[in-house]
């Protein structure tokens, strides 16, 4: 009696194993990440669309929609930032050089997280020192908070002495495509090559879209 049970049991479990294997295989085939053509981290569209209502360093009101048709690269920082911000902007300036003619379709923006101390003049002399095509954006504290939130950028004032504060902040670089969609995210250690590769890809795709 027990032996027959034992004989049927392995058969049933083999069958179940086979079925499970098939399901697992199908699931893996469905969800296995296809190798991305991009080298930066690809961002899925989030529940909040990236946007901002700010003012550029020449006093012109700016929203993300103003840059539609261009690949937009955004870094959140501040001019009193000791090394992360100059390093990121210096790298993006080199990326622009590497892009050559394709750089005409790329717009690099620095959004200040320190609107109290970063005056328009200071913002302008700061960002254009890296590349004359770079644009600096500022606004009220509420506008900056809204812009940062739509990019999921964290930022906090960190006093270091009685009369000085630093700003703790996310150091990611965001890439928005020509349609205003959040596409890629770069890190402090993302190379110039990888940035140039991905921006060229997005800029090239934009051209195709325009011609078709």
């Amino acid at each position: 009696m027990t032996t027959t049970h034992r004989r049927q049991h392995p058969k049933a479990s083999l069958l179940a194993l086979g079925a499970a294997g098939l399901v697992a295989g199908a699931l893996i085939a469905l969800f296995w990440p296809r190798p991305s053509e991009f080298r930066l981290t690809v961002l899925p569209p989030g529940p909040v669309s990236p946007d901002f209502r700010l003012v550029d360093f020449d006093g012109q009101p700016r929203s993300l929609a103003d840059y539609r048709g261009q690949v937009v690269v955004i870094f959140f920082g501040y001019t009193r930032c000791p090394d992360a911000c100059p390093a990121a902007l210096f790298k993006l300036a080199q990326v622009m050089k590497r892009l050559g003619p394709a750089s005409a379709q790329v717009r690099v923006l620095l959004i200040t997280l320190d609107p109290e101390r970063d005056t328009p003049q200071l913002l302008k002399s700061y960002v254009t020192a890296f590349d004359p095509r770079f644009v600096g954006l500022s606004g009220t504290t509420a506008q900056i908070d809204q812009a940062a939130a739509s990019f999921y950028v964290a930022h906090f004032k960190a006093p270091t002495s009685n009369d000085y504060y630093a700003i703790d902040h996310s150091t990611a670089t965001y890439v928005i495509d020509a349609q205003g969609q959040r596409r890629l995210i770069g890190a402090m250690n993302t190379s110039i090559d990888d940035f140039a590769h991905d921006l060229k890809l997005l800029a090239g795709r934009m051209k195709q879209g325009a011609s078709s």
């Binding site: 000791p82 090394d83 080199q94 101390r117 002399s125 630093a166």
Partner: protein
Amino acid sequence: MYTHIHRLTFLLALAWVIPALAADQRTGSLTITQPWSRATAPGAAIGAAYFEIVNAGAVDTLLRIESPIARQVEMHTSYTEGGIMRMRPVTSVDVPAQGRVRFEPSGLHVMLIDLIRPLRKGGRFPLTLVFQHAGPVRVEAIVQDLGTLTPPGGKETDNDHHP
């Protein structure tokens, strides 16, 4: 022709290395190597400076840093936590016996607050490190290009590294 180019490269390398070496400052058992900074944009309020302290002797403590280039000089440390770069003041830095302490980007750094004048590439300015035991040690920081992340003579393309 080949040897000429070779000699030229050697001389260029030497010209690059000598000022870096000349900037090293030794006081007693402490050596401050490669003090450097990076150029700032016109009107920029702050600059940062870095160096390495090599201690061949007993433990000492770096109490503060002074410089005529800025109205206020603080020691800060940066660290990354969950993708967020954070910065905190440091009141003093212990230099272990027979040890070393490095001030570097994304780590300990000298914060030059309210610069008297912009830092220009190729320029120099004095920094005085005040130690508890060794007393004041004056060094000259070399100003490098705008986005530089490594000391003079460091790999220029370090910005371009892969993780």
